[in-house]
């Protein structure tokens, strides 16, 4: 029973931040600068999601995640499909785990 209350509590506080913009965004007319800020969010968010998190996938081995991220970066520069970028990063990490770490 206790765990059920915990799960429901977590569900509520997780949904609220996701839901709030759906409720109020279109009721407000935003100025031009706000639109520019909104447009920039994906780039700011992905930057912050990638780094330094990519170094922490294996806490004692920051170079392992960094190497995987670097592999993804190189493959992305080649304009490969997103699945290939992911598989490339995964492959590099598995190879490094097998032979070096």
């Amino acid at each position: 029973m206790n765990i059920l209350i915990l799960i429901i509590g977590m569900a509520v506080v997780t949904y609220i931040p996701r839901l709030l913009p759906a409720l109020f965004l279109d009721r407000i007319q935003f100025p031009d600068w706000f639109q520019k800020w909104l447009k920039s969010i994906p780039y700011a968010a992905l930057g912050a999601l990638i780094f330094p998190g990519v170094m922490l996938v294996e806490k004692d081995q920051p170079l392992l995640g960094l190497a995987g991220g670097l592999a993804a970066f190189m493959l992305a520069l080649l304009n490969l499909h997103i699945i290939l970028v992911m598989v490339g990063a995964i492959t590099v990490v598995i190879l490094l785990q097998t032979f070096f770490f």
Partner: protein, 232 residues
């Protein structure tokens, strides 16, 4: 715009996320089992909470004996970044019926947000996101997370830790693969992303993950106000 192909297109676009989510969800299901959470409670958590980082942190806190209020408060702070992400996604859903907005907003995760805002349906084709396309994309991610959790909870840990680590790097590959192509075309966006990385690293020295990432996002995106020209 045929409706049947919209949802299939969304489903296909969501497959990279499913690839990353399934092994991690299995690992989560196994961790929940370790914390004496039954497989259906663990799966229920994935069904109604649906937030990977929060679920891992929540169950890990449970394992070390944290109280419910403490876990719920941590979850709230950890998820503040979704408020900012939801702003950007809802900006693309302005014409949707309210019930669609409410439903699709539930499906916003770091990964679905990244695909919805920078994936090919967005910038490259110039096409608008449609409710069914978004339902297909977020639904694929959601189902893979829920099913993966059930599998992990029932079958204990089928997947070695090494593979889970590698698949986590795969999700970083998803972020990197989505960020690089548009950033290459715009020095402004490149600067914003790099500044955000630097800010997040710096703020992470003083603040919890949840706050550091939110502040880095807000401040780095603020640069866009000065860097982006009117017409772009």
């Amino acid at each position: 715009m045929r409706t049947d192909s919209e949802i299939i297109r969304g489903f296909k676009a969501g497959l990279p996320i499913a690839l990353g989510y399934i092994p991690i969800a299995i690992a989560f299901g196994a961790l929940a089992a370790e914390a004496q959470i039954s497989w259906y409670e663990g799966t229920l958590m994935s069904i109604i909470v649906y937030a990977g980082a929060s679920q891992f942190v929540g169950v890990s806190m449970l394992l070390v004996g944290a109280g419910s209020m403490q876990i719920i408060t941590t979850t709230l702070f950890l998820n503040m970044r979704h408020l900012i992400m939801s702003l950007a996604v809802n900006d693309r859903m302005r014409d949707f019926p309210q019930s669609w907005k409410n439903l699709l907003s539930f499906g916003i995760t770091d990964e679905t947000f990244a695909l919805l805002t920078l994936g090919t349906a967005g910038e490259d084709t110039g096409a608008d996101l449609t409710p069914l396309y978004m339902a297909g994309l977020t639904g694929t991610a959601y189902l893979s997370w829920v099913i993966g959790t059930a599998v992990g909870g029932l079958g204990a840990n089928l997947i070695p830790v090494n593979i889970t680590t590698a698949m986590t790097v795969g999700l970083y590959g998803l972020f990197i693969g989505l960020l690089v192509p548009p950033a290459r075309k715009s020095i402004s966006y490149t600067v914003i992303a790099l500044v955000s990385m630097a800010l997040n690293s710096l703020l992470g020295l003083f603040l919890d993950f949840g706050w550091a990432i939110v502040l880095a996002m807000i401040m780095a995106a603020g640069l866009g106000i000065f860097l982006i020209r009117e017409d772009s």
